[in-house]
């Protein structure tokens, strides 16, 4: 049981959406870096230090790849490091690459955290209240995908064992795969007919369908939502005012000048992002203390 499980899914969802918007629009290193640290911190809290460290090589690879691509494709910037195939490779392009890499990594980490905090059916129940039809479609798709996958595996296994799929030649292989897919389709259609029966048997399509209420709202949700709104106003200020926009090409030394308003707004953004980590971390800590008392 994590802290997020005790909140209404809407609260959790809004927090993550806010964090993701802030991260994706952060161009200023002073805004991006705290968000990045929050992403790492939250990941560590959710999956544990050991597992988080095991993902480090992949994270570095991601940042390096994005940087390398940026270096090779963008040749703007004043500080030329060296020439590659007659094209200048600049410091600014490198820094911009690192910055984009960090941003992309943070977004990926936050998305993974969101999926750990909100399971599929909680997400669906979130939509279900307003859009019952869409929710049902989503639920069916979620139930359908694993079935589709196992069924395809069974077909290729069974027909492969008969020598019907591994005939020589690329064209024959493609043809065999297409046959497998057509069997899958036929079986799925047959299944869909039974499924439709199962739905009709239970009154699907009658007017006035409702949704089960499974997620009551608590006081905590109200407090946290209020905090989010209060913090979002300053945090979104740079986005709407255009102030604090960062440009790598060329690097403007004036942008590095201290700016109190901007610092406050970045701090508000960081506060939103650090809140889930603090709340989850508190939970973990509480468990450790409880356990040590047993």
């Amino acid at each position: 049981m994590t802290y997020a499980d005790r909140l209404h899914p809407l609260t959790v969802f809004l927090y993550y959406i806010a964090i993701l918007v802030l991260t994706m629009t952060a161009t200023h290193p002073a805004a991006l870096l705290p968000l990045f640290f929050c992403a790492v911190l939250l990941t560590c809290v959710q999956v544990g230090m050991k597992k988080a460290i095991s993902g480090l090589p992949l994270a570095l690879l991601l940042i390096l790849t994005v940087t390398a691509i940026n270096l090779l494709l963008v040749h703007r910037g004043a500080k030329i490091l060296f020439f590659l195939y007659g094209k200048p490779v600049t410091l600014e392009a490198g820094l911009a690459g690192v910055s984009s890499g960090v941003m992309i990594l943070s977004v990926i980490l936050f998305c993974a955290c969101l999926s750990r905090s909100l399971s599929g059916d909680r997400m669906v129940s979130l939509i279900g209240r307003r859009l019952p039809r869409l929710a049902l479609l989503l639920r069916m798709t979620l139930g359908f995908v694993p079935r589709f996958r196992t069924r395809y595996r069974e077909i290729t296994d069974a027909r492969g064992a008969l020598g019907l799929t591994s005939e020589r030649g690329a064209i024959q292989k493609i043809r065999a795969r297409l046959t497998d897919l057509s069997i899958l389709l036929t079986l799925t259609l047959e299944e869909a007919m039974d499924q439709a029966d199962g739905m009709r048997a239970r009154g699907y399509g009658l007017p006035g369908a409702t949704r089960a209420v499974t997620e009551p709202r608590s006081k905590k949700d109200a407090w946290l939502s209020a905090a989010l709104v209060l913090l979002l106003i300053p945090a979104l200020f740079p986005l709407f005012s255009g102030r604090g926009e960062w440009n790598w090409y060329p690097l403007d030394p004036a942008a590095l000048a201290p700016d109190l308003l901007l610092a406050l707004s970045f701090a508000a953004g960081a506060a939103i992002a650090v809140l889930p980590a603090i709340l989850e971390g508190k939970e973990t800590l509480k468990w450790h203390i409880l356990r040590s008392r047993i």
Binding site: G120, D121, V124, P132, L136, R139, M140, L142, G143, P146, R147, E154, I155, D157, A158, R159, G160, A161, L162, G163, L164, S166, T179, S182, I183, T186, L187, E190, E191, D194, Q195, D197, G198, M199, R200, A201, R202, G203, Y204, G205, L206, P207, G208, A209, T210, R211, A212, V213, T214
Partner: protein, 548 residues
Amino acid sequence: MAYLTVSDLTFTYHAAKTPALAGCSLSVGEGEFLLVVGRSGCGKTTLLRSLKPALAPYGERTGEVLLDGTPLDQLTPRDAATLIGFVGQDPERQTVCDTVFAEIAFGLESVGEDGELIAGRVAETADFLGISHLAPRKISELSGGEKQLVNLASALALRPRLLLLDEPVTRLDPPAKLRFLSAVRRVNEEAGVTVILAGHDTEELFPLVDRVAFMDGGRIVSVLPPREFVKAADHAALPFLPTVPRVWRLSDGNGEAPLSVREGRAWLASLVGTDAATEPENVPTETGSAAPLLSAKDVWFRYGRNEPDVVADLTCTLSPGEILAVLGPNGTGKTTLIKLLAGILRPVAGTVRFEGKKDLPKAGRGGVAYLPQNPALLFAHDTVREELDEMTPGLADKEDKIADVVSRLSLGDLLDAHPYDISGGEQTRLAIAKLLLLSPRVLLLDEPTAGLDPVARGELRAILRELSATGCAGLIATHDLAFASETADRSAMFFNSKLTFSAETRRFFSANRFYTTQAARLTRDRLSVAVTADDAVSALKRRGGKTV
């Protein structure tokens, strides 16, 4: 006053020549438990579906169905959805949602129950069926038996007064079957719901039901209480009797028909006395007479590095002409074992050898052929003929080979039918025909009897024995103990990731006390242990019992 009255119901499917239901009349009392038996395609499913407006098939219909005095077609759609519950055969195909909670809530949401009340209704229903713990689980992670209980729960959540069950347990293994049927019994006895169950797994049902209806060719031939049904059973109805009453009917047939093993043993004691026990005949087992065709040695397998072993240190051999039954509940790894032997999966450690060679012959031809549990997985074409053609590309004597398997598996009348339109037993026969065109030396069959009626099971048994006589070896993974006892030379139990206690079939079933056939349970300590119904009948006849 009857709760449900069917009068002279005749129904013909669109574009069909003969009616699927021909003048069916039936009346079912409130709270009654009615069992409907009959061959696949006899009209059981059509009858059941005709009783549920949302599922009623399209076609021409005459006659009348009254539910509590109201004609079915005059029920409001909401009443039709809530008053009549329906659970079908395939546990996988009826579920709609991803989680169990959502699935059980589905019907309540559809009929517009108050959102705040739904969770309570779901909880109550799940608790009654003992599946509360499954509520947060994903449907795709459940076993077949659990899924079927969820299907029952989602029908019950709407609080039906009539429950229609169409072959609900044919796909389940014995423990899951018992769990499902005992849940149905509670629904009937404790909640007073009227139940109509169609199916041919009658073994556990006869002691439970009030009446048994026998259908043949779209007609309801008879509707009788179980004991009278046993007494009156004619040649066509005999295969549908459970083992105990069948043995009684074929040997003694006097007095009251026994329905359960307990009653059957009391009857046997009165007939032959309790001290008549003879030791099981010692059948010499011929082992190692021929070089094994297919062998697995010290095989280990798991699906992922950190996952548990599904097969651990398993050794088994298959000699030419031998049929081995691998028994055990679903989900224990029988299918994995078959896939290892078929070369679909590679063992993590250990070896699988075919004729002593490590390499399995490439893809089936002249080697090992695999029949999946759902034979339809193999069908890719529009007619049975094309399905067979597909297996023999560019062979010179193609026509002869096809003609041969068509006659051996009696597919002659089906050649132009669509593989999806033929019955389950016919699909199994077609799939075996496809395998035989590869001239395999070993057949690996995964649950071949799932969904087959008793007559089709008998046909399959005959086909397998005939193949065995031509030197083809077979391995059947099954939880159908009666079928194994009648078909296999050797039986083994798959337990704890390996084959435990492998023995000659008669010895296997006579040595086991609990994991054995009804016939063995019936005759233990009374007669020389008979493991099949036929054995029991002939043993009784030898003792001078009366014959029918």
